[in-house]
Amino acid sequence: MKRREFIGIAAATAVGRGWLPSAHAEDLGPAALARPRLLGILRNPRAVHALGRQYRTMVPAEADGPALTRALLGAEPAGQDAALASRLEEQVRRDFAEGRTTIVGGWVLALTEARQCALYSLLNA
């Protein structure tokens, strides 16, 4: 079975139209924040959306955009999108290395990418 059949959900759905389609995107921070690497691994936006929604249910304190943005950025400014993407990627790697992981929908996710999924689900609600 190839990747596109994985989980068995077609990509052409409302949540898979592209990046930041929501009118509220600017309120929810730079685009890279809501672009989890998991999208490239699962290639299934609906699944990523569902994981993000599940994370927001699991962690009510991080159920909204500002809370998730704060959790992702900490005290540091977002900076340029490309630099932010690279920073987040390193943050994900460090999360895995240091055991800051969470299980969402059975997937072992870095805390950072779980938050990114949550933000993604908000942006594509």
Binding site: M1, K2, I41, L42, R93, T101, I103, G106, W107, L109
Partner: protein, 506 residues
């Protein structure tokens, strides 16, 4: 020399120096070691040279607590034993498997892996394997395409397997044994009772029955029980005329600590790009069929306080239709043997460009005194009480599988290779609950465990039954713990070790 015990006059007395009860992997490899000694060896096989349903019916028993393979077909009752339908998976136990681990109750062998290595090397030859090389680095040198995944070796490493043709010991070793002058193979000679002396300090003889109702006696200086973990325990427990609880059972240990391997689909991995997975997928490296499974290091087991386990990659995503083999494995042993002996084993192929793999677990079972073989009230055709199985688990068993995949998820994420999804059954919050997709490996271990202390083991470090001068146990029954890998290579290695010990005594 071969004698069909049915052709003897009833009441025959068979005598020798060494009597081996059971002609499976352990019994045959021991007998082979005694060919050049000139000592008179009696090799008793309950069945004949081929699988027969009537003989298999003597192995019928109930699985009392949970589903298991039909006991009358899970092991084979003819010359060659269960090698008649094994798949040939071979790998040595790891050093940590021999250690006393404070988080694994009742763990610890009386010797270490290094002690067993020379016997493993000899066992490799009996099972027609390649060189005694189980370090992945060796196999990476044999094929430029064979490379391990770039993971932190302190956590995960490629555990190597070699694949026996698979050796059908009843075929490969029949001729040398039948031709040997000093090895007397008796077929259809089923031992129904071990008869101790009055003080129950030594074995005086054996009662043997044939399927057509004749009874014979056997006398030897030394006796070795090599009937497999279920039937070794059964015979010890059922030999209870002088020893009320059974022979070697003064401390109520015989039959307890029954162990299997958990074999179950537990997770899936989504790689970012198709991995170079030849090492893990295709069992053909040079002339030897070999491959690796993902294994968790001894140090990580110590840190996490978990059991030893491995995982193999199976191309394709979870389907939701994963199944146990318990229900599909036929109770008809003749059909099973026919099917397994007709299998064509995979050769060298080009790995497909898969990015998603199901992860199939093999894991040891924590030794558990409540997991046991017990005698039933029903008797078989020869009047022996049947052996029933109470296969019971502990929460450590399931927690270990879950921890394995959580750590694998972290490591694949850290390495930037992909992500791991655990199956729901690992996340249901109840480590006493198991899903109906669980299978075992047909691996029966631990019913006559080895320990220096008679209160903690049925046999001593040499395999001698505590308190009985001349009775030894071979095979997986003596394993204090079962390791993560299939037991046959270790069964043969341990049989060779026991053989050397007995030859020194002879």
């Amino acid at each position: 020399m071969h004698i069909d015990a049915r052709t003897l006059e009833a009441g025959a007395l068979i005598e020798g120096d060494l009597c081996i009860i059971g002609a499976g992997a352990a019994g045959i490899s021991m007998a082979m070691e005694w060919l050049p000694t000139g000592r008179r060896v009696i090799l008793l096989e309950g069945g004949g040279f081929n699988v027969e349903l009537r003989m298999q019916a003597l192995y019928h028993g109930e699985s009392l607590d949970r589903p298991y393979y039909p006991l009358q077909s899970a092991t084979l009752h003819y010359f060659g034993g269960t090698t008649g339908h094994w798949a040939g998976f071979c790998s040595p136990f790891d050093p940590i498997d021999f250690e006393k681990r404070d988080w694994v109750p009742h763990s610890g062998w009386p010797f270490n892996r290094a002690h067993l290595d020379p016997f493993y090397a000899r066992a490799n030859r009996y099972l027609e394997l390649g060189p005694y090389e189980y370090d992945a680095a060796y196999w990476e040198q044999q094929d430029a395409e064979v490379r391990r995944l770039p993971l932190d070796a302190a956590t995960f490493y490629p555990k190597m397997w070699q694949f026996s043709p698979p050796t059908r010991m009843g075929t490969v070793y029949r001729e040398p044994i039948v031709q040997a002058k000093n090895v007397h193979l008796y077929t259809y000679a089923r031992v129904v009772e071990i008869v101790p002396n009055e003080a129950v300090s030594a074995i005086d003889g054996l009662r043997v029955k044939t399927i057509d109702g004749k009874e014979h006696r056997v006398r030897a200086r030394q006796y070795v029980l090599a009937c497999g973990a279920i039937h070794n325990a059964r015979l010890l427990l059922a030999s209870n005329r002088r020893a009320q609880a059974g022979i070697g059972n003064d401390h109520d240990l015989v039959g307890r600590y029954f162990m299997e391997h958990f074999e179950i689909t537990a997770a899936q991995v989504a790689f970012e790009k198709a991995p170079a997975a030849k090492l893990y997928l295709f069992p053909a490296l040079g002339k030897t069929r070999a491959r690796a499974e993902m294994a968790i290091s001894g140090n990580t087991q110590r840190q996490q306080k978990i059991l030893n386990g491995t995982a193999s990659f199976q191309p394709g995503a979870l389907t939701g239709r994963e199944q146990s083999r318990f229900a599909s494995f036929s109770a008809d042993a003749e059909a099973n043997v026919k099917e397994w002996q007709a299998k064509k084993w995979a050769g060298n192929r080009t790995p497909p460009p898969e990015v998603v793999f199901r992860m199939f677990t093999r894991q040891e079972q924590s030794p558990n005194p409540e997991s046991r073989i017990v005698l039933g009230t029903e008797k078989d055709e020869l009047g022996m009480p049947r052996a029933n199985l109470r296969w019971r688990f502990t929460p450590l068993d399931k927690r270990s599988i879950r921890t394995f995949y959580e750590l694998l998820g972290r490591e694949l994420g850290r390495a930037g290779l992909g992500r791991v999804q655990l199956m729901d059954w690992l996340l249901d919050g109840d480590d006493n609950a198991w899903p109906n997709i669980l299978s075992g490996g047909w691996h029966h271990m631990g019913t006559a465990r080895m320990h220096e202390d008679p209160k903690q083991g049925v046999v001593d470090p040499n395999g001698k039954v505590h308190g009985i001068a001349n009775l030894f146990v071979a095979g997986g029954a003596v394993y204090p713990t079962g390791g993560a890998v299939n037991p046959t290579l270790t069964v043969v290695a341990m049989a060779l070790r026991l053989s050397d010990h007995l030859r020194q005594k002879a």
